[in-house]
Symmetry: C2
Subunit: 499 residues, 2 copies
């Protein structure tokens, strides 16, 4: 049965239990794993590792992944206290809670920086890579499953490799992946992608078979997350974006088939992309990070010809749809290392239209994507910076209020900056769209307040702006004593509104 | 005499006075010009244009340049009120003053975004390009002078082109330039640079001779700026950086000849680079924006083999040295369009070590490069973001205090964010160096306070941090009511110190 899963006889002797494999991991080690969103991450070995700590062993490790991963890794290793340091992104409620309690050291990084940080040695030695694989090839290459993430760089740089062969992942995924690993500077060559459909690498992660220290067979399925239903606000936001893109085509600023689209992770991003099913656009391509349910709709509707990403991130229903029709979707999808899916070089060259979600946006166009009220880590910046900075057009979406109207997503000054005024072209809420290109800060403020803020907050935003404009400096007027007062008021009273 | 300057007979009839050429410019036009720093910018036509307004004509235009330019352009057009809108960078005292008084609409942009904004049509129609040239070739191509900047894209997209042939610029500059203009997406190809020395284009800016509407002959020299003497603080900062780079080489994280260096504009950046003359490093290369005096020292010392930039930005003394020895320096220098010198693709591929200056840095590693006390525009972000984000290593330098100690350059929260915690690897002041790679925000804060803050401010920074850590959220603890209080205190009392 494992013949097609482990295609080298000499490696079959490496098959061990998850518990035995986990024993390779020692206190103080740095572990890099596969996984990007709850897709394609190792499961059995992290669970076995957590168990050791639960049974009383003192063990702490640093974990580097592609992005967020499922509960078997982030959840189990946080609850057991094994995970002491975490790079570069997470969404798990236990790890988030540990971060915000100051118990888990977390560095929130641009995802495109992670593979090269591993490769340059900036994280120190990578002791062990744990990689979920569909199969191991004759050459010892590891065929990834539902994501690629940082796995190629983890395997390249780790001293030892543990492979989790996951039999719940269908062999039909073979051929979906395209693995290309750039050299380190000064030997890097141009990445030869000029269209999202271009395949430039191998279908497996190259791996010296000598480095494979253990192989674990498991069938634990990806713990995919539900996607919220497409609500009225998302439909409105999607509608404004489509109108804007149509206008750009009409003005000759975009080709009629647009340019490759990137859309962030989660329900709103899924809904925004999904809106294109009803649009007039044809022959679209996507050069993005994650392939969510809406992409399957777009492929089925014949709207999208190719979707390039680093992971499939479907809902449970979407996962079933993907796996039941994998031959169909595999023709239209490519999974790449995050070094390539999020690479500034390729994003700039292709002219990607980047669409990401904001926690809050300020009147001058700065965006907070990570820290609620300045200090509370939500998830992390993820790939939003990789795409935003190097995009043809960078679009941020947010619903104009949160907490039943007690929080305005448009504020005088954001409480944490992840994307600066220099990077944000367009802001969209369910209220409308503000095109910020070519505007001075004070012009921008008026557009954002008028077009994007909730009516309940427009007057007090204008009041802030006008009073700030009475100060000495008129380029980007702020009142230092009041700029963050809306957040302070929320923390004190539970509402940003003025009673 | 002009035979070698205008190499097409049919264009000699286009020679007119600066006043006649300026008459092509009408109220409401958008003008894109050559020039990057006070080098290679048009001078005679802007002066003639300013004169029209000074004589009573109502005329207002939008000006797009490579970066800052000399007083004949930014100063004259600001004083005369002709310049209504300005992209993407400036350093002129008159334009800065107009911006801060709210009289000049200014958008502070990443320089690498400017050529493509011109090319994509995001600025609207470019009515006229004004380009300073050394000569016009047989093909109608324009050979640039001491900078390239956005000139190639200006010429490509403008309806009409005015060429200022500047006879003060020596013909020996011919051959220094390498002009390559990427296609618009979706037709972009990889930029074929794999080493700073690579030449990939033409020695002139291609131009349809039909578009050349006027040629003006002038001999007004570049108004170069003095570079400050190399002071003790700069020497210390440079020393810490060299020690750090040596350590990285020793740890195997950098090749022994390092990787291409970028250093920002101005006296401190010049001094930091200049420190390398005394270092043990050899065979260095630079892939940077501007070539300042220190580069000539490094070339003469045999330390730097090639320097690629988009402008020569010497002091008056440096300019004389350059022009007197142009044959020598031309062998080691290449001037490229800013689309190439600042291109994310090339910066990422080459693995550039980016060194830029900060106005202030906060305890979590966010950097303010533009707005003093949150609202007062200094110059702009320039190319610092292009290099920082896509660099192998991003280093920020600042002296730990300003205003005779009344301002700390290390603050609880910066009053404006231009570079985020996700982008900054290393912070250096005359006090020391903080390596932020792999650190959580609270670890970062302790390193920055201990290594970089001035001793007079360390205790109150630690006090802020410790009180913030008593709050509910421990990832990146801030007190919203107090985060910007240091700036508020300075604005109220003239000092950030607590009396």
């Amino acid at each position: 049965m494992l013949g097609n899963r482990i295609r080298r006889e000499d490696l079959k002797g490496k098959i061990v239990s998850a518990e035995e494999a986990a024993m390779l991991i020692k206190d103080g080690m740095t572990i890099a794993t596969s996984g990007f969103t709850p897709s394609g991450y190792p499961k059995a070995v992290p669970l076995a590792l957590a168990k050791r700590a639960e049974e009383g062993e003192e063990i702490g490790v640093t974990i580097i992944t592609g992005a967020s991963v499922g509960d078997e890794l982030d959840g189990a290793l946080t609850r057991s206290g094994v995970m002491k340091r975490r790079f570069p992104y997470q969404t798990n409620k236990y790890s988030r809670d540990a971060i915000n309690k100051g118990k888990l050291m977390y560095q929130d990084m641009h995802l495109s920086h992670v593979p090269q940080f591993v490769d340059y040695g900036f994280f120190g030695k990578i002791d062990i890579a744990i990689v979920e694989g569909l199969a191991i090839t004759e050459e010892g290459g590891i065929i990834p499953t539902t994501s690629v993430g940082v796995a190629p760089h983890a395997v390249k740089n780790a001293e030892k490799v543990i492979v989790e062969i996951n039999t719940s992942q269908p062999m039909a995924l073979e051929g979906v992946h395209d693995i290309y690993i750039p050299e380190r500077p000064p030997y890097r060559k141009p990445i030869p992608i000029t269209h999202p459909k271009d395949r430039i690498g191998t279908s497996y992660i190259p791996c010296d078979p000598e480095k494979i220290a253990a192989i674990v067979i498991t069938d634990i399925a990806d713990k995919v997350r539900p996607l919220g239903a497409i609500d009225e606000n998302s439909k409105k936001i999607s509608g404004y974006i489509i109108d804007f893109l149509e206008h750009e085509v009409k003005m000759g600023r975009l080709p009629k088939d647009l340019l490759p689209l990137q859309s962030g992770v989660g329900s709103v991003a899924n809904a925004v992309l999904g809106g294109l099913v009803e649009s007039k656009f044809e022959n679209l391509t996507c050069y993005t990070e994650v392939i969510q349910d809406a992409m399957f709709d777009l492929i089925d509707a014949g709207k999208v010809t190719v979707a390039s990403g680093t992971s499939f991130t479907p809902s449970e229903e979407g996962l079933k749809r993907l796996l039941d029709n994998i031959d169909h979707y595999a023709k239209h999808c490519i999974l790449r290392p995050m070094e390539i899916s999020n690479n500034p070089e390729v994003i700039r060259r292709l002219g990607v239209i980047a669409m990401n979600t904001a926690i809050e946006v300020d009147i001058y166009g700065h965006v907070n994507s990570t820290n609620i009220m300045g200090s509370r880590m939500m998830n992390g910046i993820g790939g939003s910076g990789d795409f935003t900075r190097n995009a043809y057009l960078s679009i941020f979406t947010t619903v104009s209020t949160a907490k039943n109207g007690d929080v305005s997503s448009i504020v005088p000054m954001v409480s944490h900056v992840d994307h600066t005024e220099h990077d944000v072209c367009v802001v969209v809420t369910e209220q409308g769209l503000a095109d910020l290109r070519g505007t001075s800060p004070r012009e921008r403020a008026r557009k954002i307040i008028k077009n994007c803020a909730h009516p309940d907050y427009r007057d007090i935003l204008m009041d802030y702006l006008k009073r700030a404009e009475k100060g000495r400096f008129m380029h980007e007027p702020h009142m230092m004593g009041e700029a963050l007062s809306w957040h302070e008021r929320f923390l004190q009273t539970g509402s940003m509104t003025i009673k």
